[in-house]
């Protein structure tokens, strides 16, 4: 059996090559440990659009060598160009992709997703911009008094 079947939350079935999907440690462990026959693996919190993006990433990185034991220090936006193109998404979709990468345990995708988010955070000058960029609703905003209080506390560490 050279292929693995996956079902997303909106009941769409995908059939993928084992080599491709084995970049996901979760699927790899499931299939090798449990040794089940052809039943499709359900992914209840991954939608089909998210899975499309994940599959694009897997195809780009199909032939990558396994990562070295000691992680190399990289800059925030030190990614290959195709990954940068892939990550030019709206924030809600990107967050879905990151959650899917976390669930499926694909360390490379998780890494570039987090780095992209960190890069966007760096681009924003202060918290107003972050709120706008990430579309955080007003109910969760901190009040002005709390922010003033926190600024005083931050003085201890950044002052």
């Amino acid at each position: 059996m050279a292929s693995v079947k996956l079902t997303t939350s909106d009941d769409k079935e995908y059939t993928l090559d084992r080599e491709l999907i084995f970049q996901s440690n979760l699927i790899k462990n499931m299939v090798t440990d449990l040794d089940v026959f052809d039943a499709p693996i359900p992914l209840p919190n991954v939608t089909s659009s998210t899975l499309d993006i994940v599959i694009k990433y897997l195809k780009i990185h199909k032939d990558d060598p396994p990562p070295p034991d000691k992680p190399i220090e990289k800059a925030v936006d030190d990614m290959i160009d195709e990954d940068k193109e892939l990550m030019k998404l709206e924030f809600n979709i990107m967050a879905d992709v990151i959650l899917a990468a976390n669930y499926l345990d694909i360390p490379g995708l998780l890494d570039i997703g987090c780095r992209t988010v960190a890069w966007h955070i760096k681009q924003c000058k202060d918290y107003h911009e972050i709120r706008e960029k990430f579309n955080i609703p007003k109910e969760l905003w901190r009040s002005e008094e709390e922010i003033a209080e926190m600024k005083k506390e931050l003085n201890g560490i950044l002052g």
């Binding site: 979760l26 462990n29 499931m30 440990d33 449990l34 089940v36 026959f37 052809d38 039943a39 499709p40 693996i41 359900p42 209840p44 919190n45 925030v76 924030f91 809600n92 967050a95 879905d96 990151i98 959650l99 976390n102 669930y103 345990d105 998780l110 890494d111 987090c114 780095r115 988010v117 960190a118 890069w119 955070i121 760096k122 924003c124 202060d126 918290y127 972050i130 709120r131 990430f134 579309n135 955080i136 609703p137 969760l140 905003w141 901190r142 709390e146 922010i147 209080e149 926190m150 600024k151 506390e153 931050l154 003085n155 201890g156 560490i157 950044l158 002052g159």
Partner: protein
Amino acid sequence: MLVWALLSIIKGSFSEPSNKKIKSKKVSFERRSVRALSTISSTTTLRKRKQDWIVPPYALDAEIFENIMKWCSPGDAAKLLQVCQVWSGPAAEALYQSPPILYADSFSKLAATLLRKDVMHPYPLLIREFIFTGLAADELYMGDLKECLRLCSNLVSFRIEGCSHLSNLLAQFLTEHAPFLSRIELPGCTISDAFLVQLIRGVTTLRHIDVSFSNVTLSALPVLVRECRYLETLIMTGCRPSPPEMVIDYEASEYYLVGDTLKQYKNTTLKQVSLSYTELTDAMVGYLCRHCDALQYLILEGCNLLTDTAINSIAMHCPTIIELDISLCTQVTDIGLQALAVHLSVQGEKTQRRRPTSFGYTSFQEYTPPQKRYHTIPLSKINLTGCYYITPPAIVLLASKCPNLNTIIIDGCDRLIDWYNHQDSPASPVPTTAREVFSQDSDSDEESFVSAKSRHSFAMENLQSERRLQLSRDQIMRRKREH
């Protein structure tokens, strides 16, 4: 029909990822699925509440947030603290994990924040690491430090560089208030042996100790080796010699204990030891090696009182050694390296051969093919800078016995320079298949690397001449047993 039913049962079992029927050895898989379930519940409830909210990025769980935070600077973390309630918790954690204490007044400001009562986040409990360098270390007040340590009970790592007024009370503070402390670094501080002994007796969870260039003397070494149960790394670079009034007999009666009694004294956790630039003697090295048989990285740079006896003890008692640095130990000669090569390979054979049969005797099938024997020697790097008595045959022997050896540093070894120059000439005894680069410039400080491939061809050439010796020795052994 049956097959379809079976398939649907399996499908049913799969739809609950945290089902106990799945006996997966990988715990991480179960934990992840449980976490994924919690993420699902949070996203679904948020979605139900308001349809027009954009649910992620709040549904990002703590681990992902930590991953993002490690790419952000403290300034970014400060911005994130102010954004929203959900993000400020993880942002505070990332910011306070190792608070930057750079200037003379940084610590007093930090202490003021930590000691405040009603703050937004539990800052002291978030602190995992304290690092005091430069001016901050000079201006450190013990009283402030004590107050902060009392509150920061999750402290894991502690470092002060070059503080000239550390008192022994610090050991007591750490014992009382830091139950998880595993790493302590006090280079250049004025601490004494008494401080160190009190510290290791009080804080029993220490794994990494660095007391370089302090007033600690070498007489603290036996105490450290004997009493620290979890210690993995010990750095005592530049420590002072034992005071003349303390006479420790390193060859004492414990050396003659056998079997189980000696095992009680053996330290099996110490893996990395650095005793560079100390007045270490052969007896001390012997003591260290006899008592620590799991040593992997041994750095003895500049210990110029060491002779071949020390190398012999290392070779005899530490079969797991991976990296050995004996640069500037000028009294080391070929004999030391030969001892290293021979003893390590013998140790390797011993571990291969111990296969008892039902009668308790080792089995007769003791002949293991030569390739198998060599795999157990893990030595991969040796630094012989400045050991000018070393000659080529010793290096050749060492290389042939240790297949994992891929780095030999020989800066300043004068007798090896000429050998390199004549390497390509037809009259040289060195096999010309080896294409190796040795550093011949005694002034250079760069490392020289020997490729692993040429190492193996080197070893194999020598092996062929040795194999004849091996076979005849085994034939002799067999004949002896038969009689």
